[in-house]
């Protein structure tokens, strides 16, 4: 075997960035003349909640196969704005970098999407004058591109998105499920709680609760949760309610879910703009879920009114 190459990564691609970044390497390659050698990146920054936001420009050296994550890694590693000023690295969320964890949602050229699957070459094709990065609008900014998406998980709790099993002792296999049912359920189950559907939804508006002076953490959390519970649960949570109401055991608490889905901020808030399904990175049939939940809510309301 070769004595030179002993490892996969160095052998397979030119050493460029480490996992969390790399110094903007000097760049040469003239083989992509159509593309700019540096990319103009504008980032909307905010140092902390409640502070003013401001734009910052960065020039990032172009490399083949870049995505927005690698752009941000380079910005973090360089920590200099375009004018040469030393600046703190831009903060952003990411984890898996293969579009299954749902972390890296942000507004890229004005549109909500996952930074990992946003390929730079394609962005530059669409907007030759550079890339604009902003935090999501519908969630409170923590810092720079990092937002607080707690509300999204709270919605999952509101709709009781789980199968109410007795416990974790052995009770044999679960119910038999036809391939058709599985194929129906599986896409809904791939929702990674990224929040794109909520960001693009004109009916979903930001709820930001600020801790008051002297308020205990518990009291603040309670107040924040109560505020969340007045707001729209959003397409993702409606879809999860549909998923679990369709499961043979999950449906045992279907009424409780419908109670939540028709409570304040429930499915009635949907305005049928259908942006959710258009921006969902996993192409989850969210509007189908919403319509199904709408139908179930109709039946449920009739039952509720006439069965008691």
């Amino acid at each position: 075997m070769s004595t030179k190459h002993n490892g996969p990564a160095t052998a397979s691609t030119p050493p460029s960035t480490g996992a969390a970044g790399g110094e903007p390497a000097p760049h040469d390659s003239g083989d992509h003349l159509a593309l700019p050698r540096t990319i103009d990146v504008r980032v909307l920054r905010q140092d902390a909640p409640g502070q003013e936001s401001y734009w910052e420009r960065h020039a990032v050296a172009w490399e083949p196969n870049m995505n927005v994550i690698s752009v941000l890694q380079k910005i973090a590693a360089g920590a200099r704005a375009q004018d040469g000023r030393q600046v703190a690295p831009v903060a952003w969320d990411c984890n898996c970098l293969e579009e299954v964890c749902g972390s890296c949602t942000m507004l890229i050229n004005g549109r909500t999407r996952m930074a990992c699957s946003a390929l730079v070459d394609r962005l530059v094709e669409e907007h030759p004058d550079g890339i604009e990065l902003r935090p999501m609008l519908k969630f409170p900014v923590v810092r720079d591109l990092v937002v607080d998406r707690r509300r999204l998980f709270r919605s999952l709790e509101r709709v009781k998105a789980w199968v109410p099993v007795d416990g974790f002792y052995d009770h044999g296999a679960g119910p038999r499920i036809s391939p058709e049912e599985q194929e129906d359920a599986y896409p809904l189950s791939t929702c990674m709680s990224c929040g794109c559907c909520l960001e693009a939804c004109p009916q979903f508006t930001r709820i930001e609760t600020v801790r008051r002076d002297g308020e205990t953490e518990e009291a603040f959390e309670q107040r924040r949760t109560a505020a969340f519970d007045r707001g729209f649960i959003g397409a993702h949570a409606i879809s999860q309610a549909v998923l679990f109401n369709g499961h043979p055991i999950g449906k045992l608490i279907a009424d409780e879910r419908m109670e939540a889905v028709t409570d304040q901020g429930g499915i009635q808030m949907c305005g049928n703009a259908q942006n959710c399904v258009a921006v969902c990175p996993k192409s989850i049939p969210l509007t189908r879920s919403i319509a199904r939940a709408g139908r179930a809510a109709t039946m449920w309301a009739i039952r509720k009114i006439f069965d008691r």
């Binding site: 490892g7 160095t10 870049m66 964890c101 391939p179 599986y186 709680s193």
Partner: protein
């Protein structure tokens, strides 16, 4: 005593299953994670989860064979009782996940469908599309949310575990952690602490692992005194998509569903791969391993792909090493049904539809077989004693490790679709023992003197403060990480050589020195990712050093650890008698090597910052070690000789155990 309180660090499959089982058993649980638990790295697992099932059982499969495949695939480097227990629990775990609503793919009649994975001849792998890890994780996340709604589990997301708090007797009493948003420090008194923080892929820079897989929590308990086992055993996955920021996994299920690996016989054949006729394609795995074909164990597949590109120069591209992974002969509709998730990843990140064009893939660092050393209590039947506080306990009492960050289940090489099983198993299984341990302490953590926690807290605050106030203009942590990753990838992945490992260890030490001089570009105290990363980078060095040291000292080939200088030779003779004689010698050498090296590497953090390496004997009471002969020239002769010896040895011992050696290449 009051209800025990347990701190679980990490919210992947292992951490979540431990948390929910602990909650079910009545414990209060604090669940801590660097990211919202639903975003844990387990979501990246694609192919499936192994267990014996009704179908394979009728084809002659049983738990013992699952155990045997796992042990054999792992080159006998793991203690056998925990693996036996895991294999026994397999069917129950799949049933449980099924009940929790995981949308496993189904047969037309409505049963769970299974696919075949590497290292076995049975279709043992249940799967949910090509996002099985994600689906399993979500099911557990949902149950944990259910307990959270009831107040039994408290989540601490975006929190960084900094150090365990040990009392004067050395028992773990809790931890010091930091809120990564407000940067506030806080102590978490606990009756037991479970580390479930996953692998340490970031030590290698780019890998198939997620950005949280820094290994920092593991490194911090290692530095606090916990022993680390088999660090040098790092799995390099044969098939990944090379990328600038990450090497994205292309699941083994692509081969499990019929994907074929090949290269053009003519080096760097520029033709469209689809137009290259069959005769001019080199299906090297199929030719070399007619029994397992494309589904040889991962270490073998990785080495073959690496070898065909480097030694034989048959890489598809000249500047970038890669081979074809071809699915184009399979029906699109079936591909979409079974592999949609991974095909979508390839399509999105490479811009090419793998249903039409063969994928270009190359090996990448993927999994850490090694991890924190953990104990177990063996049962009379050869498995584990459920409820024993020793199960999954590290060398620090009251401190546990489960999932990828323990060293227990996969030996020298992990079989595909066994990791999800080991994560869920270790999480569920350890819970009763953890509770027993929590109750066994003389005092519960709540009564423990405040002194311990105040001291520990202050130490972390000081460390943090020192980092923030370093003078500017020093080293760049991202640059150091880049160099560390390149170093590790170069010397400690597929092929390892002592003449590279020894200097690499020195280089790592130098990088660590440079890290001490690095300065931060962000010195603020609000969501400072710069300081969190720099801390975790510092904690990569102890791991990097124990990996390098372990690899340097282990002069043999075993599983993922391949040192060509110590490779067992092929049988070269052609005359049958000479062949037999050579095989006898081969077996002698094998037995000698087993005596010398069939031991776990145990690293302890020395006061000088260097790992102190010792070796631990392995419990092979269930399945005696035998040569792993995948691909060995003359393997069948060796097998013949070996079987004869094994029979004799069995007669000598007066016991009967199924002993077979698998020979491959004809």
């Amino acid at each position: 005593m009051a209800q025990p309180r347990v701190l679980v660090v990490g919210g992947g499959l292992a951490g979540l299953s431990a948390a929910m089982r602990l909650a079910e058993l009545g414990s209060d649980v604090d669940l801590m994670s660097l990211v919202p638990v639903k975003r844990s790295h387990s979501v990246c697992a694609q192919g499936g989860i192994n267990s014996v099932n009704a179908l394979t059982r009728q084809q002659g499969d049983n738990e013992w064979k699952h155990l045997d495949d796992t042990i054999y695939g792992g080159d006998f480097l793991q203690h056998q009782p925990p693996v036996k227990e895991m294999a026994d629990w397999g069917p129950r775990i799949i049933d449980l996940m099924d009940r929790l609503g995981v949308p496993f793919n189904r047969t037309p009649e409505g049963f769970r469908d299974q696919r075949r994975f590497g290292g076995t001849l049975y279709k043992r792998t249940a799967f949910a599309g090509a996002t099985t890890g994600q689906q399993l994780l979500y099911a557990l996340d949902e149950q944990v949310r259910r307990f959270e709604a009831q107040g039994k589990i408290r989540k601490f997301e975006f929190w960084d575990f900094l150090s365990p708090v040990l009392d004067d007797s050395g028992r773990c009493r809790g931890a010091v952690c930091q809120d990564m948003v407000s940067m506030q420090f806080r102590t978490f008194p606990a009756d037991a602490v479970i580390i479930a923080s996953g692998g340490c892929g970031l030590v290698y820079g780019r890998s198939t692992m997620s950005m949280v897989c820094t290994g920092s929590a593991v490194s911090r308990v290692y530095q606090a005194g916990a022993a680390y086992g088999n660090g040098e055993f790092i799995q390099v996955h044969p098939t990944a998509i090379p990328g600038a920021d990450k090497l994205r996994l292309m699941s083994e299920s692509a081969r499990g569903e019929g994907g074929r690996v090949w290269v053009p016989r003519r080096p760097q054949d520029a033709r469209d791969p689809r137009s290259i006729p069959e005769a001019e394609r080199y299906y090297f795995l199929e030719e070399r391993y007619p029994k397992y074909m494309n589904l040889v164990p991962r270490d073998i597949a990785t080495r073959e792909i690496f070898d065909v590109c480097t030694t034989e120069g048959l890489s598809v591209e000249k500047d970038r090493l890669c081979v074809y992974l071809d699915l184009t002969h399979l029906p699109r509709e079936e591909l979409d049904r079974k592999l949609h998730g991974i095909l979508e990843i390839y399509e999105k990140f490479q811009g090419v539809d793998p249903r039409d064009v063969p994928m270009k893939i190359f090996p990448a660092v993927h999994y850490s077989m090694g991890g924190l050393w953990v104990d177990y209590q063996k049962s009379a039947s050869g498995g584990l004693e459920e409820g024993s506080p020793r199960n999954q306990q590290t060398s620090v009492p009251g401190l546990y490790a489960i999932g990828e960050c323990d060293y227990q289940y996969h030996g020298a090489n992990r079989l595909g679709a066994n990791s999800l099983l080991s994560c869920i198993f270790s999480g569920l299984f350890c819970a009763p023992g953890v509770i027993a341990s929590a109750g066994s302490g003389k005092k519960t953590a709540a009564d423990e003197s405040q002194r311990l926690f105040t001291t520990a807290l202050r130490r972390e605050e000081e460390r943090h403060e020192a980092l923030l106030t370093r003078p500017g203009g020093g080293e760049n942590p991202y640059q150091i990480h880049l160099e560390l990753g390149e170093l590790m990838t170069r010397v400690a992945t597929v092929v390892r050589r002592n003449d590279q490992l020894a200097p690499a260890y020195e280089e790592a030490c130098q990088l660590e020195e440079r890290w001490r001089r690095c300065s931060l570009s962000d010195t603020g105290n609000w969501t400072n990712q710069n300081v969190v990363f720099t801390k975790s980078l510092g904690d990569m060095f102890p791991l990097a050093k124990l990996i390098l040291k372990g690899a340097l000292l282990r002069d043999e080939c075993r599983g993922a650890h391949f040192k060509p200088d110590f490779e067992m030779p092929d049988i070269k003779a052609t005359d049958p008698a000479a062949q037999l004689a050579e095989a006898e010698l081969w077996c002698d050498r094998f037995e000698e090597n087993t005596r010398r090296w069939l031991k776990s590497t145990i690293a302890r953090h020395g006061t000088d910052g260097h790992p102190q390496i010792s070796y631990e004997d392995i419990d092979t009471s269930l399945i005696p070690p035998r040569p792993r002969l995948y691909g060995l020239v003359g393997g069948e002769t060796v097998e013949e000789v070996w079987k004869k010896r094994a029979r004799k040895s069995a007669q000598d011992k007066g016991q009967e155990k199924g002993v077979t050696a698998g020979s491959e290449r004809s």
